[in-house]
Symmetry: C2
Subunit: 382 residues, 2 copies
């Protein structure tokens, strides 16, 4: 019987859970007595375990990066454009590991999990998690899988920050780091948008300072607003003009009656759909991890010094119309790597799709990523 899935899909996948049973101390000083990470793998680990690739997700991502959980699943994982047989992250070559980060809301320990110390969900009491904590917990997952060194650690946006942090914190465990549509730290404007999103959540009367689960409610409107704010920053002005223009969904501008532009209806839908699939406390936690990311903090704001100890080869990719993390921000990373005399390739991809470009099937992007990883595969092959 022929497969129900496209030939270049990893097909049916299922998730697994790694339970770390020992205490794990976060950078904030709080110790979790144990934690779970839910993850998926695609492709096969080779005998010397040298072909593993780690996928790090962004703000609202999860472990389900490729393939389908069932024959009925309408859409594949969030990065199915890039992961699969013959795709840039080629599962014929690589063993791909994709996890839901600590603090997430898709199965890993986070605000929705039960706090073993209280027997109740953590909710807003889940401790502050920073990018370095994610990397440390991902290293424990790698230990569990017997992976001493990743052929590549890859991520877009907040995922790209994790790839950078891996190269800094575990120089010997990363052959290549692929940093896509990221920044070495957030700008005041980035932080401002994140804070407004958090304020929108906090202002929802159903948020109850994060204790909405106990109140059997959910801050749907606040979380929807937060998503709408984020979403506008993921798209470009030109891309939105192309997609929506000033087309009306309903109403009559002359009468000022029930006017709804297409772009408004699209945003409402995005906001509502997000509220159904995401947890507000996790959203707050993830945006704070973004705000706090700053690998140069320990080196007196000197990014070059922070990157000195890395040993990975880097690929830094940015997109022309991305205004959330612009080309300029990626250049800061590449320039610092070059100043630190590291092996870095960089590519600026023409795209009108803004920050979201990193999830899209843009030919030059796919080609750049595929070529780089093909070389990585040759380098790690015995």
């Amino acid at each position: 019987m022929p497969s129900a899935f496209p030939a270049d899909s990893v097909g049916l996948v299922s998730s697994q859970t790694f339970r770390h049973e020992r205490p794990f101390t976060l950078q904030c000083g709080v110790t979790l007595s144990s934690f779970d990470l839910v993850y998926e793998t695609y492709g096969n680990l080779n005998p010397d375990k040298s072909n593993a690739v780690l996928i790090c997700h962004a703000l609202s991502g999860n472990h389900h990066a490729a393939g389908y959980h069932s024959e009925d699943e309408a859409k594949p994982g969030w990065w199915d454009t890039c992961i699969g047989p013959g795709k840039p992250i080629d599962t014929n070559r690589f063993f791909v590991v994709s996890l839901n980060n600590l603090g997430g809301c898709h199965g890993s320990s986070g605000p929705l999990s039960t706090n073993p110390d209280t027997g109740k969900p953590y909710g807003p009491q889940f401790p502050t998690v920073v990018v370095a904590d994610w990397v440390a917990s991902q290293a424990l997952l790698a230990d569990h899988l017997g992976i001493e060194r990743f052929a590549a650690v890859i991520g877009g946006s907040l995922g790209g920050m994790q790839a950078m942090q891996w190269a800094v914190d575990f120089p010997d465990r990363v052959h290549a780091a692929v940093v896509i549509a990221a920044a070495a730290k957030l700008s005041a404007q980035n932080i401002a948008f994140n804070e407004i999103a958090r304020q929108a959540i906090a202002a929802d009367p159903n948020f109850f300072a994060g204790h909405y689960a106990e109140s059997e409610s959910n801050p749907d409107k606040g979380l929807g607003l937060a998503r709408m704010i984020g979403h506008v920053t993921y798209l470009s002005d030109d891309g939105m003009r192309e997609k929506f223009g000033r087309a009306l969904k309903s109403g009559d501008i002359d009468r000022g009656a029930d006017v709804e532009f297409q772009v408004e209806s699209y945003l409402h839908h995005q906001g509502q759909a997000f509220s159904r699939r995401f947890d507000a406390n996790t959203y707050v936690l993830m945006t704070k991890a973004l705000d706090y990311f700053d690998p140069a903090r320990d080196t007196n704001d000197n990014l070059v010094a922070a990157l000195e100890k890395t040993r990975a080869k880097f690929l830094v990719i940015s997109f022309t119309s991305d205004w959330r993390f612009s080309v300029e921000r990626s250049k800061e990373i590449s320039d610092a790597l070059m100043a630190a005399r590291k092996n870095v390739a960089s590519a600026i991809i023409e795209s009108e799709h803004g920050h979201d470009s990193f999830l899209l099937q843009l030919p030059r992007y796919i080609s750049v990523l595929g070529t780089f990883l093909e070389r990585v595969h040759q380098e790690i092959s015995p």
Copy 2:
């Protein structure tokens, strides 16, 4: 006794009210049986009444554009940088009229006014007002003041749109139109930010679908959020980096405890202050007027055709770091005016202060505006 005010200030000013006692039909089809416009004037109207200049305000502006309402007033009117003796809008030469627009919340008829038909405040029932309605009501104010023709109609942002509309609707009543940091119509991204702001207001449990006054409440949080969203779009990424960087107001990033960046604290303050001085229904009304503005709608999206009938000379000014209404949007206006063979001067001002630049004392901006208006003064002088 020396004046308590700077020498180049118009000094102590007071507002007046123009009551239009006859029916006024808005573009939406609703007829107001009467309306009030509160306004201020600075300088003296010359005998032939040819030296009047109309100032049109932006989203959150009002009639108090220059001078002080009392000796104790901490700050002068919102455009005091440009209006006064010896300033670009020189009150030694011009008679300056500045009003609060219809639908406003600073004394003109609007949601806070009593609906004569019901004896209750209009609240959310105040009808939809578009830019053309403002211009029509401003023309009635001009009639009242005996001003047949304005030497100049001037505005920034939404105010610039009114200046454009004046030139289109009353070609014989405008000698010069000064369109600053504006656009011929909003982009999908502009509309998106406005809609998110409106959603934030609507989601506030104290909004009561606009009937908050009757409930003796106010949607402070929602209006504050709306202002924060708007405010980020008024500043540039570089300007915010310069002003705030990643400086902390409080907390310790390492501990993830009570962390507040300076930019967050600034935005909170802006949001709270705005909620105290502005009305939520008016904010909704004003943002819709922005969204609906599109002088080319009646000419099949052909801006050149829409501008054919104008007779004013134009000055179009934009600012390099303005991403709300970028330089490109002003170029669209200038290009259309040139294609329509109109008299148009345009200036792109280098500034890192984003959309807010139009309110600031930037030397080249002040000089361009002053030079243009000096010529206008010569032209209208007998």
